[in-house]
Symmetry: C2
């Protein structure tokens, strides 16, 4: 949603070079609102607007712009100014923004960055996507354990600008090993004895993540501990970064959206729905629709196989959609229940037997429920069947199909997990597709048996 | 997942009344771990273990216990001790924990709470679930605007224990109207001029939420602004509470799980998957499966209506599952794309025409793609059709069904939204169910037209 309210006015201010009003626009609002109101301007226009405020406010507003716009500005505006901007960003945002920049541009930009920052960009961009390392920032306050409270406070007051969070102080030994943590709250409480060394104030029961841990583990830990930031350590237990609460919120939201899309077989989008071009979106949907179509051809061929039987008992046809949708719905319910339980750490692979048994029970209960309701309505609407055996075909099939759906829906994500694959790959249309095939085979065989009786 | 490693040892410590070891267990670990390791103990045992540590650590560990266990402890342990515990909790957790407590117990407990806390509980529990008011805590630092930096720091140092976050100071006028915000970072930076009044240090561009705003708005704002806490104001713009980052993370995760379950027609669970009784879970699934079954009977009846046509052209039957699943899949993709875009604020009801047109284009593209692939495979496997008209039945149906699915899938959540209902109610199985019915009607009519030619 582009908020176009301010655009004509902003363009007029730029045309008139109205310094006072542009400065007012940059500074009177919350920086997030300033960024919002520029949505719709060209990269060059945004950069010209931002020239009218202090460097620190410029960086703050820039950080609230959409990622794509940030990248366009970096790719098109004055190289030296961009190098200045990039070196002011926090380390994790810097890496995110630079990762899709044109290679030649990136090389010239890196050359203009201070050596320390350049090295950091190169180091941070080496962590595989989805690991704690790829998410962390390096702007944490590390305090040697022998410093006193007074010295620590002076240190923070001097450098508050440079840190991602000053609310946790990480206490390290001479080799950067994490020894403990002191919150700003502890520090304020300790201010009455300002000569106490930090090693006495610190809390040593710190929960950390490893630099190569999966981001899902990071989310689970931060969500559980309610912390502002979690320290990231390397294989030698040295403190190398922190991941802050705001990154975790973004991560949880992005994962939720990606999972929702994957669950209906759409490749996750890089941009918002309305901004993604129709062709790109069609491709992200079409690939999986095509795969699912090939899947759906299997029931077509298996129905062909039963053609003579269906010709003889034409009324069986009417119940095909009902039977396959019941199996698919029950399978999707189980799959989603198991996938969410696994991803939130509420169940693990070792619970598989318990899960399968529960689904077997539930499948039986649900199958019987559907069979009773389905039969009752059919008799009311279509009228009584010709024989008991005939009357039992649809109900018996329903019970079996719903049970198979429930067990399969739960088992497939577990199998994927045990193979080291993401259980969420077993998306709803696939579970439903497999249930369709099974449903038809079960239906035709039950019919064969019943009518053969 | 119960971690049973420590349970026998803990029970032995309790039996031996081993004070030193119990204290060690309560204090050496991170409080979240202490809580984890007690998973599996009875409420009375947990409370006995926690008797061996300081009151503040006891409260912290208690806050990391699962909600259900917290409630069991409060319902079963000594009433006076429980009143002491409850009065130490933060206001938002207190209300969450008390809301499902047995009414008689709750009344006796409330009687034993200090008047101020009792009134607060009653006031906070009046906000409807899902509003900002039901999420907020009241432990924020409100500082009158005329205080100096030095006075403000003294104030925080004295009361740091009582606040949910001391990292934001909310500057208010004499009538509690929110005037501005000062972060602990600003405060530390300002410490060199300790006599500056807070009104000069404060930032007045504050973004707030209203006490009756929907929690989704809270999530969207906090996620966008990357703030530690967002102030909550009432209708008169008085500051009444704050919502902190950790509550927002929990909210995002819970909503993601609930949405995932709703999308496959399962009522959201109150507890984890493995802890929810089979009967309760079956009920939460069965209700919707039964409704969907009634839905699925419509295609059954409509197929019965076409019985003579199907008898004549038996090969049409084979493609029923393929046609209904293609329509359903395409519809689910659109519905999920639109629902996620709406809930994240990336699209609004006013974009409806744009959305419908995009889906029409995509539906056409996807339909043609599926038609080409489907026809090619069918010819390869089954062999050439008898006539051109016959050959065109399935492809033409596919194009129409996929287009209808895409447009309907997008339109249904938009219609729900405009009626003031949650778009997420238009869950995947419902969209698929509607597409099933449409698919069969389109299929039979296309077949009638083509064969009639």
């Amino acid at each position: 949603m582009v908020n176009t309210l301010f655009l004509p006015e902003l363009r007029e201010m730029l045309a008139d070079n109205n310094v006072a009003e542009l400065q007012e626009f940059c500074e009177a609002l919350h920086p997030a609102r300033t960024a919002d109101f520029m949505d719709g301007l060209e990269p060059a226009e945004i950069w010209r607007v931002l020239a009218h405020t202090s460097e620190s406010n410029r960086v703050t507003v820039f950080e609230y712009l959409p990622l794509e716009m940030q990248q366009q500005i970096i790719e098109t505006q004055d190289l030296d100014e961009m190098a200045g901007l990039v070196s002011q960003l926090t380390s994790d945002e810097r890496v995110d923004i630079l990762q899709d920049i044109d290679q030649t541009r990136l090389a010239s930009l890196l050359q203009r960055l201070p050596v320390k920052i350049r090295r950091e960009v190169l180091r941070l961009s080496q962590y595989p996507e989805g690991t704690a390392g790829s998410l962390m920032a390096t702007e944490f306050v590390a305090v040697p354990e022998h410093l006193t409270i007074r010295q620590a406070i002076d240190e923070i007051a001097r450098q508050a600008d440079h840190y991602e969070t000053i609310y946790y102080l990480f206490i390290v030994d001479d080799d950067d090993h994490l020894r403990g943590i002191v919150t700003a709250r502890d520090l304020m409480r300790g201010m009455r004895q300002p000569d106490t060394p930090m090693s006495e104030l610190m809390n040593t029961a710190v929960i950390t993540v490893n630099v190569l841990d999966d981001q899902q583990d990071v989310v689970n830990k931060v969500a559980k501990l309610d912390v502002l930031a979690i320290p990231v350590i390397d294989q030698e237990r040295r403190l190398v970064g922190i991941i802050t609460h705001d990154d975790v919120i973004d991560l949880v939201r992005d994962e939720a959206t990606d999972d929702a899309l994957r669950s209906v077989a759409v490749e996750p989008l890089e941009d918002t729905y309305l901004r993604t071009p129709v062709l790109e979106l069609s491709w992200k949907r079409g690939v999986w629709l095509a795969v699912l179509l090939c899947f759906a051809l299997i029931p077509a061929f298996s129905l062909k196989h039963y053609e003579t039987r269906l010709n003889e008992w034409a009324w069986l046809i009417a119940f095909i959609p009902l039977i396959i949708s019941s199996g698919g719905n029950s399978g999707n319910q189980s799959a989603t229940l198991v996938i969410t339980a696994l991803s939130q750490g509420h169940a693990s692979g070792s619970d598989w037997l318990k899960i399968v048994l529960r689904e077997l029970c539930m499948g039986l209960l649900l199958g019987v429920l559907l069979a009773v309701i389905g039969t009752a309505i059919s008799i009311l609407v279509i009228g009584g069947p010709e024989s008991f055996a005939q009357a039992m075909i649809v109900p018996v099939t329903l019970v079996l199909v719903v049970m198979c759906g429930a067990v399969l829906g739960a088992a497939l994500p577990l199998i994927f997990r045990s193979l080291g694959l993401d259980p969420a790959l077993m998306s709803n249309p696939f579970v439903a597709g497999i249930c369709d095939i099974l449903g038809i085979v079960i239906y035709m065989n039950v019919a064969g048996l019943m009518i053969g009786l």
